[in-house]
Each structure stands twice: as C-alpha cells, then as structure tokens.
Symmetry: C2
Subunit: 198 residues, 2 copies
DNA sequence: GTCTATAAGATGATAGAC
DNA sequence: GTCTATCATCTTATAGAC
C-alpha cells in the first residue's frame, strides 16, 4: 500500500516527481468542475501530465483516487478552521469562515461549492465511498456549533445547521443562476444575522 | 418527433401501453436516487419493464430522456405552486410551500432534494442540457419572490433566495447526515422566520 | 408499430515490457 | 521503479427482423 500524501516524506515526493500529488490535484479540480461520475481517468491523467493508464501505479482503483480527493478536501477544511482560531471571538470567527465562501464567489457561481457538490454526489453512491462525505461536513458542523456554544447559545446545534444550510443553499442557487453576487449578498445577510444574535 | 406527455391523447397512451410515461417515471426516480450520470439506460428500461435498447423508440437520445425528466419535474413544481394560490395570504402560502419539503423529509434524507440534486448535476454538464436546470429554480424563485412582494417587502428578491437557500441547504445537510429531523427542524425555523417578518 | 441483435465507442483495469 | 499495450466490460446507439 502506498503512503498517503500526509505520510509521504520529501524524498518520496522527489523520487516520484510529485506525480501522485499532481493526480490528486488535477482530480480535485475536475471532480469539482465536471462532477465525480462525469470525469474519466484519462482526463485526470492528461490534466496531471501523467501517461494514461499509469494512474494505477499510484492508485489501486478509481475509487481510491476519489477517496484521496476527499481526504485532501477534508485536510483543506481542517487548515482553514485551524487558521481561524487566532481570531479574538466566536462571532468574528464565524463571519470570517462565511467570507471564505464569498471570497470564492466567482468559482462557486461557475462550478458550485466544492464541498457541497462533492458531498451530494458521494451521497448518491451506494458503495462504501458513499459514506466518505461525512469527513467533510461533520468537522464543519462541529466547529461552527462550537462557536455558537461559546456564544452561550444552547441551540448551538440547530444554529450550526442553519449557518451551513444558508452557505450551501446560496452556493447552489448562485451556481444555478450563474451569479456570484447572489452568494455575496446572502453571506452579507448571514453576517448580519450573526451580529444580531444575542 | 413524438408528442410530449402533456400533448398525448388517451388513445396514444393506450396504444403504447403507457411505456413512454413509465420510462420517464422510472428515469425520474433513478436519477434522483443514483444521480444522472450514474444511471444507465438499461437500468431505466428494466425499472420501467421495457425491453432494453427499445428506449430509442421513445427517445432519440439519452439526453432527450433526461430532458423529459426535467420537464416532468418542472410540471410537478408548477402544479404544487398552482395549488397554493387557494390559500388566503402570501405568508400562509410560503409556509405551506416550505412544508412540502418537510413532508418529504424521509425521502430527502435518503436521496436529497429531487430538484436541488438534479440542478447541481445539470449545472456541471457543458452541453445544452446544462442550462435546462433554470426551468426548475427560476419559477420557484419568481413565485416565492412574488409572495414576499405581496407582503410589501422591497427586498423580495433577496428574501426569495434566502428562503430557497435555507430549504435546499437543509435538504443537503439532512441527506448527508441521513437525518430527516434536521430538515424538519430547519423548516420549522423557516416558518418562524416568515412569521417574524413585518 | 414494436422489439431484438448487434455495432461502435469508451472506460476501468491488468499484464508485462522497458 | 516506471510506463505501454491491450483486455474485458459496459454503454449508447442503430439496423433491421418480426
């Protein structure tokens, strides 16, 4: 079994020329833009500048590559959340997190939220891949819930769902309407809502 | 060109044994449960009890069948919205529409919102099929916006997006968490929000 | 008018060459 | 250790039988 990205040493990466990482990176982008099912290994290999068919040297199956993309997304989320703990209070942390969506409004209007659309597609798979999506939303729900809890709200769990529902729903509509400003406006309203909470 | 479902007379249906309708109905359910890309014509034909390969007698291409499913969903939406005009005021109409989602909470927790997930997948297609999704959300946004407008709100457009964002986002999270009550709770909060608006 | 057999093409995966 | 050639399978689509 090959080591995961996080387990690889620098020398491993050097020996392979970073091809595994290029594959995961190219796959992440293509799965976001085209969808999981619509993207072929050939397209991923081409985008990563790796010989087609050679993907199987780095990943045992196609599902394994998809799993690696999910792991990478989960890691990105963890990094974003970790960076926010520097902020002084839960209110400003929640608003800063929301702004990571409006900052990406152009991309989201074009291809939807990378997390939300990935989850939705994984949730339709009946294989074990299907339950991998919890890696993405669960940490977010817990983190957001913790912020509301710190604010002294006993209904922190419902508030976390409301928060993420707004963000994901607005991303879906902005994508469907191909209008980044739809997302920007909803995030602004979400910030007001956070400020208005006691 | 074959007549669409709405244009078919009873005798047409009788002669065909309703196979076209069975195909669209089976396709709609499978696209919802498995996704557009993951569903094959064989699966649809089998579910509709129509000989495999015979699908092309009723639909010129696979995309045409998907289009028929989208048309059917759009028609379903129109029917639901039409039925709501009997209600006395915009506030009760908005709450009644929201309840159509919580009424389907078990199905949505299992497979997501039929409209939202269909839109998300269509939005990733670069063919002309991709822009068909506007048939689904546009009428909803306009109708919901009209209700807020009748309530005297000048920001009716933003409110309509907030309303649908909440519903679609909550459906996505309920699906990911496999928890119908998540959706039910968010719809209850949405109803309170509607009541609280001036 | 209805359906079967099959073509044509693409995709995931493997075996083995370099 | 890296990559190429190829297989087996599946899927859309068509031609033509009944």
């Amino acid at each position: 079994m090959l080591p995961s990205v996080s387990e690889m040493t620098d020398s491993d990466v050097g020996e392979r020329g970073g091809k595994r990482e290029r594959l995961v990176s190219a796959a992440a982008e293509l799965l976001h833009r085209q969808g999981v099912q619509a993207t072929t290994l050939q397209q991923i290999a081409e985008a990563a500048r790796v010989p087609p068919g050679n993907v199987y040297y780095y990943f045992k199956t196609r599902d394994d590559l998809v799993r690696a993309v999910v792991d990478t997304r989960a890691q990105e989320i963890a990094e974003v959340l970790d960076a926010l703990v520097r902020r002084p209070n839960p209110r400003s942390r929640l608003k800063a997190l929301a702004r990571t969506w409006s900052d990406q409004r152009d991309l989201i209007a074009e291809s939807g939220c990378a997390i939300g659309s990935l989850c939705m597609e994984l949730n339709k798979q009946d294989r074990d891949l299907g339950r991998q999506s919890t890696q993405l939303f669960n940490p977010l729900i817990e983190w957001v819930g913790n912020q509301f809890h710190e604010m002294g709200r006993s209904d922190y769990s419902d508030l976390a769902v409301t928060y993420l529902s707004t963000v994901e729903g607005a991303s879906l509509l902005a994508n469907d309407l191909r209008d980044p400003e739809v997302l920007a406006r909803q995030i602004r309203l979400l910030e007001k809502w956070i400020d208005a909470l006691e």
